[in-house]
Amino acid sequence: MIQFLIDNWEPIWRAFLLTARLALYSFTIAMVIGIVVAAFRVSPIPPLQRFGAVYVSIFRNIPLLVIFVLFYFGFPKLGIVFPEFPSAVIVLATYTGAYLSEAIRSGINAVAVGQAEAARAIGLGFTQLLREIVMPQALRTVVAPIGNLFIANAKNTSIALAIGVEELTSVSRELGQRQAQIVEALLGAGLLYVVSLLFAGAVFGWIETRVAIKR
């Protein structure tokens, strides 16, 4: 397995970097989506609330592969053609964003209700309330679930191979098949995933301790 990685280092490393970029870009956008949708769901504006609820219901309940294929092969029928990598980023972001919004929403609910009342008393608007008071506290309590979702999102990048993205799993698989070393190839890829995600997990753990709310 290590020998396989060494022999095929160039294409595998390239694929690894592409996968990393895919995971990071999509997760960043997913965080934005997650915060926005969570805000919608707790806002006092019914249409926004409904939008948020519908968004989550849709993207939490469709298999990721289906979203990939529908987006990549379906949108061109409407005249919109995105290349593979941007398509993958968008699909992963919308999917993970749904889960993130639920995690963040639970964080929001964990913030004492008195904070909102106090904020209203001193005349803060809803957006200000969220931005200055609630979100900073909410996010700090849900670092662990967010870390989980980061890891899940990173692993989900492998599904992008269905739309031709040359990410780590598909590249390893292809190389393995050509050299009749399928097991070694996938073990090697697995090793790379595990090592990098352990590292990511450690980072999130560190963040969690740093921002933990001292009670």
Binding site: F73, P76, E84, A162, I163, S170, R173, E174, A180
Partner: protein, 351 residues
């Protein structure tokens, strides 16, 4: 009260698990003994009262006969070769499968002894290695790398790699050289020899890789790729099915299609070679082709069944010649494919 709720939950969960287990398992119809034990002898007299094959007596083939069913891996989405239809899987590969199985059971009803499973390009070797199928007849190109882990009978057909472009050929593509630029994207399927061959023929060209050729065709319709490359046979099928495409250029590789078998299945391999030889001589091969691919292409000469991969090709005492005399593949570009020269280097790039 709470206990009762948990018990109900537990019951429901175990029922669900049971359903999943039952639904998932595919048991082979154990027609043990039942089917044609017919005097364990080579009476592959079957429908046409034809010549018998020597190889059908061998223990390896007898095992298949005893099982009652031959499990065949085949493509489900390859128009003209292996495609799902309301009548089951149809196509040239399916016809070859039936002819081979008829040679095993000889009762005129090969379909009752076949169990088809979908084989996509990437899982053909694992299927054979893990004993999920007895043979693979799925537009399966014979080559040395694959021969390391599986065995091949045949070839039963020969084609060559070509290019498919949108109708009208807007980019004026005539050969892989025209695609050897990062501005043009070519599509193929993961794990296929076509992809490898193309990358060697046009290393600078951009490629897009999916898990099936129908996705490539869709991508071409969406304007995502400029060309699709694989065996001419498959391309014709795509043109037939999708429309709006055309096949261009000379064949730039030799693709001999073989019957994939588990490594070491020598009895079956020798038998299948003999059986293929038999149907070529009897005209059944031609008929199978005309009924399927013949819809869009001319019936070619069947290829010579020989290969440098093996020392033994036919069972001892069979009527089939060791060196086929029908051998003369008169076809155009690809062949100097008589006996030797098989599928080692894919570089047959006429250029």
């Amino acid at each position: 009260m709470r206990l009762r709720r948990f018990r109900v939950l537990g019951l429901v969960l175990s029922l669900l698990l049971l359903l999943a287990a039952c639904g998932g398992g595919e048991e082979e119809p154990e027609e043990a003994g039942g089917a044609t034990e017919a005097a364990g002898d080579t009476e592959t007299a079957g429908a046409e009262g034809e010549a018998t094959t020597v190889g059908a007596d061998a223990p390896g083939v007898q095992e298949l006969r005893d099982a009652g069913t031959v499990r065949v891996g085949i493509k489900y989405d390859q128009p003209l070769y292996g495609i799902q239809s309301p009548d089951g899987v149809v196509g040239f590969d399916a016809e070859i499968a039936k002819l081979i199985v008829e040679g095993i059971f000889g009762d005129g009803d090969p379909e009752s002894h076949i169990e088809f499973t979908e084989a996509v390009s990437a899982n053909r070797e694992p299927f054979l290695q893990n004993d999920e199928v007895d043979m693979v007849i799925a537009t399966y190109t014979m080559n040395d790398e694959r021969d390391q882990i599986v065995d091949f009978a045949g070839p039963y057909y020969e084609t060559g790699q070509q290019l498919m472009v949108p109708e009208g050929n807007p980019e004026g593509i005539e050969s892989p050289d025209d695609l050897n630029t990062p501005d043009l994207t070519t599509c193929s399927v993961e794990g296929s020899t076509s992809l490898q061959n193309f990358e060697e023929a046009a290393p600078e060209g951009d490629t897009l890789v999916f898990d099936s050729y129908s996705r490539c065709a869709e991508a071409m319709n969406d304007g995502r790729v400029d060309a699709t490359t694989t065996d001419g046979a498959i391309l014709f099928g795509l043109v037939d099915e999708f429309g709006g495409f055309e096949v261009v250029g000379e064949e730039f590789s030799d693709e001999p299609y073989g019957v994939g078998l588990p490594e070491g299945a020598t009895d079956v391999r020798l038998f299948v070679n003999e059986r293929i030889c038999q149907i070529q001589e009897s005209g059944e091969w031609d008929q199978a082709f005309e009924d399927t691919v013949g819809v869009v292409a001319e019936t070619p000469e069947p290829p010579a069944i020989d290969s440098e991969m093996y020392d033994e090709v036919f069972p001892e005492g069979s009527e089939c010649p060791q060196a086929s005399e029908t051998g003369g593949a008169t076809s155009e570009a690809s062949s100097e494919m008589d006996m030797s020269e098989p599928m080692t280097e894919p570089t047959e790039m006429s250029s």
